[in-house]
Structures are given as structure tokens and as C-alpha cells.
Amino acid sequence: MRGYNFAYLDEQTKRMIRRAILKAVAIPGHQVPFGGREMPLPYGWGTGGIQVTAAILGPQDVLKVIDQGADDTTNAVSIRRFFARVAGIATTTRTTEASVIQTRHRIPETKLRADQILVYQVPQPEPLYRLEPSRVAARRLHALAEYGAMHVRLYEDIARLGAVAISYDYPVLVNRRYITSPSPIPAFDNPKLHRMAALQLFGAGREKRIYAIPPYTEVRSLDFEDHPFRPHRADGACALCGARDSYLDEVLTDDRGGRMFVCSDTDYCAGRAA
């Protein structure tokens, strides 16, 4: 695009982000501060993911962007168009055809390969922030692997409600070291994080943090021996493709309680229905 560098960011900024990514890959699950830039999209719209994508994108890459699992949500459309405009790269809605997938709130149902990179948009990289709002104090807890408060929080849920009440952004332990936010994906997606073949990069623009889960890394959703982690989905089959293994969106069809369930992953659904 005239007047702008390939993929919007200047090369110096890209190098700074790549250095942060390399450090993040070297310390799986650890949040690395980076000099996040103002982007032409608002904070909260995926500025962290956009900066990570901009830093890793090459002219041969094929980009897929999803929001809520869907390629057709307005923000996914907007970010895909942004990169088509400022990088002139090919885009796709097919999971299997993409080399880079930027996502908000979902992991695709189709298993990702070692030659793919999954970039997450992260609103709040600090998994402990509800327990310890000071990031200075939270950093110290991570350094000491002092995670008792998180286990107590899970225990309190079980004691009061009979089960852990976290249904999305369910905290994980990466490489047996750092408690990490998987970003607000439904807990249903958590098992896909574990030993994924693809590199997983997480970008938080407003909070200026990058972290990573390298390929084939152990990722455990926090639980107890007598209360093992259980992923949940709406009980039923997709009304369009009949899938019983995918995460389902509930669509209200009238004001008399009518509803249908359809796959949240639009590419997975279209591939099955075809």
C-alpha cells in the first residue's frame, strides 16, 4: 500500500516484536513486555494479535482471520481486509489453506499442522489479575511460581458450586511452569492447546505483552485429581452439518423459546455440509 511499509509496521518495530516473540518461545507461557505501538484499529479490537501477525507475515503467507470461530464476523472481516490492504497477501477462509491464522475467542476445530501459526488476540494476558490486580505483585507471584491463590479459587468454586465455574479463559499451566491465560477461548478448546503441532503466539496490545506456546508443548488445564478438568459444549448436533464434536453457537430463532444450534467454526461446518 502506498505510503506504508509491507504489513503496516516499519521494519524496526517488526524486529522489536520478533525479538519479543523469540524470547516468548524460549520461555513458554511467560509474558514478555514489548513496545506495543498504536495501531489504526482500537485497543480491544485485536491490536496485539495484529502486531504479532504483522511482524511474522511474509509475502507468501496465506492469512485466515476468525472471530468467535467465524470468518464472517465483522471484526474478522475488518482485520482480514486490513492485511489484504497493507500487505497485499492472499487470504482464505479455509483452515487447511492458511499458513497464519489470527483468532479471537476460538481454536479451529480442524487440527492444525506444524507448518501453521496460530495468533491469538488477548485482552488480558495476566491470568492472576482477578486475584491480584497489581501487575507488579502478579509478576512476583509468577517468578516464585506462587500459584496457591489460583488453586484456592478453583477449590472455592468446587466447595460452593460443586464444580469449577470458569467456562472460558480457563487458566492453564504451560510446560509445568507458568500459569497462563489461553485468552477468552471456551474451556471446550483448552485440550487443543496441549501438544499442538502449530506454534501458538499470543499478543496483548493494550497491556503490551507477548507470550507463546511452542509446538508440542505440554499445556494442562488446572484441576484436581478428584475433580478433573472437563470441557463442555452445548449438548446436541449442528443444525447445518450435524456435527456432534464441534463447539456450538446457540441462535435464537423467535421470541417463544425457539432456538437452533450451529457450529461456531464456519469453515469446519461448511466443509462438512459440502
Binding site: 505501538r37 498504536e38 480491544g44 470461530g69 470468518d71 472481516v77 467456562s167 477461548i185 471456551p186 446457540e250
Partner: protein, 358 residues
């Protein structure tokens, strides 16, 4: 199906943008606003946008205000997103506000000060009555000109410091922190804190500064000096090796003189809070100075009890571009997470109802 939906989303975005453009222009029978009108007649808005965008460019700030239909936070965002793409060719020398071409200068701690008190073009003593003659575009009355040129005006804080009454500010040769290029880490040094305040939301600075006056981290402030005027910006180009004047900026500087420090062993002295803002911005500079002083609490050995004294709290929440983004992002789709939460609530309800039925 997906393909059709993607095209639908793109059409919706294009249509929304076209509607936005038409709405911005308003009634075509009314002449369009010019950027020069905004820069020349809505100066306070232009200055606020330049401060919160950290970019001094009145013409581009006026353009941003026009493009944002007067939404100043949106305008600051537009200007910041432009600023971040600009190359850097150097850093200016520290501004010499003591050599300011003063248009306004007041000190609340002395009846008179060397150089005098100059009200300048202030609204401080106007009666806030709507001026209906502006509806008819009546020309303003002629403003009288002073017969004598203004004298040299040493900064009041320096007069106090010369007597040892004000806590000395150690000079530093360290390259200042750059908030626009690095992630802020805590405890943040004062240069980083001042940068965060300089681009912070004016309403937030005002509210937090106000809170210190109502007992949440008070520091007995006096307005030592508020001065406003043009200051030369000097730069030393590598190829020349000596400073050249590259233009001037109008600034408001506020030096608060606050509660004293010291006691039996250390000689007592007043402490200072500093505020600096583009343009004529008493409110912004004064609120900034209150907060700068409040955030020195820990360094001065004071008890940190109030939000305004906690730099991590203040600086993490002062940026209105970050804040508006994160607040407003709640309108983006969250239905996947909501579905997960709704299923969890249904499971909990089913379990509780089954237990109640037993």
C-alpha cells in the same frame, strides 16, 4: 453459506462507513467547517487533542477533530495512530520555560513576583453568561495593548529553590524513558510518570487530582506559578553540532508547591509537583502537577493510602485511547464465551434443581 456471509459482512461494513461519511458532513445547505476554522477558533479542543495524542500539529489535530465530528478522544486516537508511523530524526533540547515569551503568568503564593502577575487571555474572571451576540457574529471589542513590554520573568520555583525552601530537583543526563516506544514497568521513574500524565485523559487527571484535595492522598498544594506562552524548540543536528531553533510551541506550565518534607535532622523544605501541557491549559497542567506530587509519596517516605498516590493505578488507567478501546470492545461479539457461560449456568441450575427435588 460461509462465502455468502463473508460478502454480507463486507457489504455491511462498507455501507456503515458510507453512512458515517454522509452523517459527518451534516446538512449540505450549511457550509462545511474548514480545518483552519477549527484550528483558529476551537483552540482548546485542538490543544487537548495534541496533548492526548502526544503530537504537536494544530493543523492535523484540527483535521482529526473534524474527521471525528468533535469527539476529542476519537480525534486523539486518529492523531496518535498517525504519529506512530512518523520517523524520528532527533530529540529536541530540554525546553527553557524560564525564557518563555509569557502571555499569562500568575503566582498564588506571593502578592507580587519579579516580572509581575499577568492575567493574559483567561476566562478566570468572566461571568459565565451565554453571550447571545455571538449568534450574530458580532466582532469582539478591541483588546488593549500593554504600553510596556514584559520584563524577564524568573520561575517562581527557582526563587524558592535559591533560598533552599524548595526540595532541589537533581539534574539528570540520562536519556529519558520513552513511553511511546517501550512498555511501562513499575515502579515507574518520574520521567515515565510525567509522560503518562502528559498524554493522560484530561477528565481522569482532573478527577484524580481532585481526589487528592478531598482527603485521598492530600499534599497541601499551593499554585506556586502558572505560566503560559511560546517557547523555542531547539535541536542539535548531527551534521551541525550546535543548536538551531526549529520553531516554537505554546505551553502552560504549572509548578505546585506542596507540603514540606524533612524535620529535625533534614532541613525542612517544600516539595514540588510539575505539570506541562500544550496550549492554554491551566486545568490540565494543574491536575497533572497535583498527581505528579501525589505519586512521589513513596519516594518521600509518606504512607501510600490513596489511589492517586499509586502510580501503577493512575498510569494504567489514565490513557483514554486504551480505556475507550477496552470499554467499547465489549460491543464486539462475545457469543462464544457467553454460550460457554450460559451452559455452565444451566448445568448448575439443573444440579441445584435435582438436589432440591430429592
Amino acid at each position: 453459506m460461509a462465502y455468502v456471509a463473508v460478502k454480507g459482512g463486507e457489504r455491511a461494513i462498507d455501507a456503515a462507513h458510507a453512512w458515517r461519511e454522509a452523517a459527518r458532513r451534516g446538512d449540505p445547505a450549511v457550509p462545511a467547517l474548514s480545518t483552519a476554522q477549527i484550528a483558529g477558533q476551537l483552540g482548546r479542543a485542538v490543544e487537548r487533542v495534541m496533548a492526548e495524542a502526544s503530537l504537536h500539529d494544530p493543523v492535523l489535530a484540527a483535521l482529526a477533530i473534524r474527521q471525528a465530528e468533535g469527539d476529542l478522544i476519537e480525534a486523539a486516537f486518529l492523531l496518535r495512530a498517525f504519529r506512530t508511523t512518523l520517523p524520528r530524526f532527533g530529540a529536541a533540547l530540554p525546553l527553557e520555560t524560564g525564557r518563555m515569551a509569557v502571555r499569562r503568568r500568575v503566582s498564588a503564593i506571593f502578592k507580587d513576583v519579579p516580572g509581575g502577575q499577568i492575567l493574559g487571555p483567561t476566562t478566570d474572571y468572566t461571568h459565565r453568561l451565554l453571550d447571545f451576540t455571538l449568534l450574530d457574529d458580532a466582532p469582539p471589542p478591541a483588546a488593549p495593548r500593554a504600553s510596556d513590554p514584559v520584563e524577564a520573568m524568573p520561575r517562581v520555583a527557582e526563587l524558592l529553590a535559591a533560598e533552599g525552601l524548595l526540595r532541589p530537583e537533581p539534574a539528570s543526563e540520562v536519556t529519558p524513558f520513552d513511553l511511546t516506544r517501550e512498555a511501562l514497568a513499575h515502579p515507574a521513574p518520574r520521567d515515565a510518570r510525567l509522560q503518562g500524565l502528559a498524554r493522560g485523559d484530561e477528565g481522569f487527571l482532573l478527577g484524580m487530582g481532585y481526589s487528592t484535595q478531598r482527603g485521598y492522598g492530600g499534599s497541601h498544594p499551593f499554585a506556586g506559578e502558572i505560566r503560559m506562552g511560546a517557547v523555542s524548540v531547539e535541536l542539535v543536528p548531527d551534521e551541525l553540532g550546535f543548536p538551531i531553533d526549529i520553531g516554537e510551541v505554546v505551553l502552560t506550565e504549572c509548578q505546585m508547591v506542596n507540603q514540606f518534607h524533612g524535620g529535625k535532622t533534614e532541613p525542612a523544605c517544600f516539595t514540588a509537583g510539575y505539570g506541562l501541557a500544550f496550549g492554554q491549559a491551566d486545568r490540565r497542567a494543574m491536575a497533572m502537577a497535583l498527581l505528579d506530587r501525589a505519586m512521589q509519596a513513596e519516594e518521600l517516605g509518606e504512607a501510600v493510602t490513596a489511589p492517586a498516590q499509586n502510580p501503577e493505578f493512575v498510569l494504567a488507567h489514565a490513557d483514554n485511547i486504551e480505556a475507550t478501546g477496552f470499554v467499547e470492545h465489549l460491543k464486539l461479539p462475545h457469543y462464544v464465551d457467553f454460550q460457554s457461560e450460559a451452559e455452565a449456568v444451566r448445568r448448575l441450575r439443573a444440579a441445584a434443581l435435582a438436589k432440591a427435588a430429592e
